[in-house]
């Protein structure tokens, strides 16, 4: 009897889930009609990925070797997807430069900027309030993706490889 009741409750909740808001209702209003080519900052892209922005596809244009070495979360290799499978309402983020197209964004600074700004955000202790606010924003997504935000005395000339600090599941 209890099992039957639980099964009915699950069925009701499952069927109600079908009436979940369509993806378009969750879509950001940033997407202007007729827009051509945009760039996107690594931290903003990190927030999109973290927030599961509907219809977002992150397409990596680099070599297979570079992709295997390190890639952004949810990134797909361009060779591994057929262009015909891209839907017109999807937001496309290209990692590495690309041709301009509707709803296409290019990741500003590429994977290197992602590594520096998302995986290893660094700030000096005497940074300006604006820099501190940007650091605080980046730190939140950085920790989400397993990055290591740091406050240092002096900014390093080079950053560490983000692949070494990639977060693992349980």
């Amino acid at each position: 009897m209890i099992r039957r009741g639980l099964a009915i409750a699950a069925a009701i909740l499952g069927v109600l889930a079908l009436f979940d808001a369509p993806a378009s209702r969750w879509r950001s209003s940033r997407r202007a009609a007729g827009a051509t080519l945009h760039t996107i900052a690594p931290v903003e892209l990190a927030e999109w990925i973290r927030d599961r922005k509907p219809d977002l596809r992150v397409i990596d244009l680099r070599s297979e070797e570079a992709f295997e070495e390190y890639h952004l979360p949810r990134a797909e290799r361009f060779d591994s997807i057929a262009a015909a499978h891209l839907k017109s309402n999807e937001t496309i983020v290209l990692v590495d430069g690309a041709v301009g197209e509707r709803n296409v964004y290019v990741l500003r600074g590429g994977v290197r900027a992602w590594t520096d700004e998302v995986m290893n955000p660094t700030i000096t202790a005497n940074a300006t309030p604006a820099a501190r606010a940007a650091y605080d924003r980046a730190s939140i997504v950085s920790r989400y993706f397993g990055g290591v935000p740091r406050i240092v005395d002096k900014l390093p000339a080079t950053r560490v490889n983000a692949a070494a600090v990639r977060r693992r599941g349980c």
């Binding site: 499952g14 889930a17 992150v58 890639h71 990134a75 692949a163 977060r167 599941g169």
Partner: protein
């Protein structure tokens, strides 16, 4: 709340639930592979459906921030190899990592031996990790979730999995009655 204390509390609750479901018994678990006792399948699938409906509806009601739920990355071949190895170990031992802890905690010798084997395997893998690292990092596909993969709404996936579970439970019950 201290995350470690929360983890201990959740771990104890998980272990208690497994034991109450009878999953500390190796013969019961082994019955899964001979289709004589599908308790494991029913318990695990029930847990998946409960968690999925809970996460979905709590996020839609604004109680849970879905963006704070971490989705592990997919590495196709290493995870396929790991799954096969895990399955083989499960059949041989009759216990999986969680249930071996439950069995050991309730004083079963087989559970303690499986735990010993499990930690030995963890140590051996750690020691031999350098040559395995390339394979471990291969065929990366990022953090995949079904709505993105299938290009459908989250709710459609939730409904489909609930339907699959209810049909599978019916099928499992009939299979158990027949054997």
């Amino acid at each position: 709340m201290n995350p470690l204390l929360a983890a201990v509390a959740i771990g104890i609750a998980f272990g208690w639930t497994l034991e109450r479901a009878g999953l500390g018994s190796a013969p019961k678990l082994a019955g899964q592979f001979y289709f004589t006792d599908l308790t494991v399948f029913k318990v695990m699938f029930s847990a998946i459906v409960t968690a999925m409906l809970g996460v979905f509806w709590l996020s839609r009601l604004g109680v849970l921030d879905l963006s704070r739920v971490y989705v592990p990355e997919t590495f196709l071949l290493p995870q396929l190899a790991g799954g096969l190895l895990f399955g083989a170990g499960f059949v041989i031992a009759g216990l999986c990592p969680g249930t071996s802890c439950v069995a050991a905690a309730t004083g079963r010798g087989d559970g303690a031996m499986v735990m010993f084997g499990m930690f030995s395997g963890v140590l051996a893998t750690g020691l031999a990790f350098a040559p395995l690292n390339h394979f471990y990092e291969s065929t990366a596909r990022g953090s995949l979730i079904l709505p993105d993969l299938l290009h459908v709404n989250y709710g459609v996936v939730v409904c489909a999995i609930v339907a699959m579970a209810l049909i599978a439970f019916q099928f499992a019950e009939r299979l158990e009655k027949r054997t």
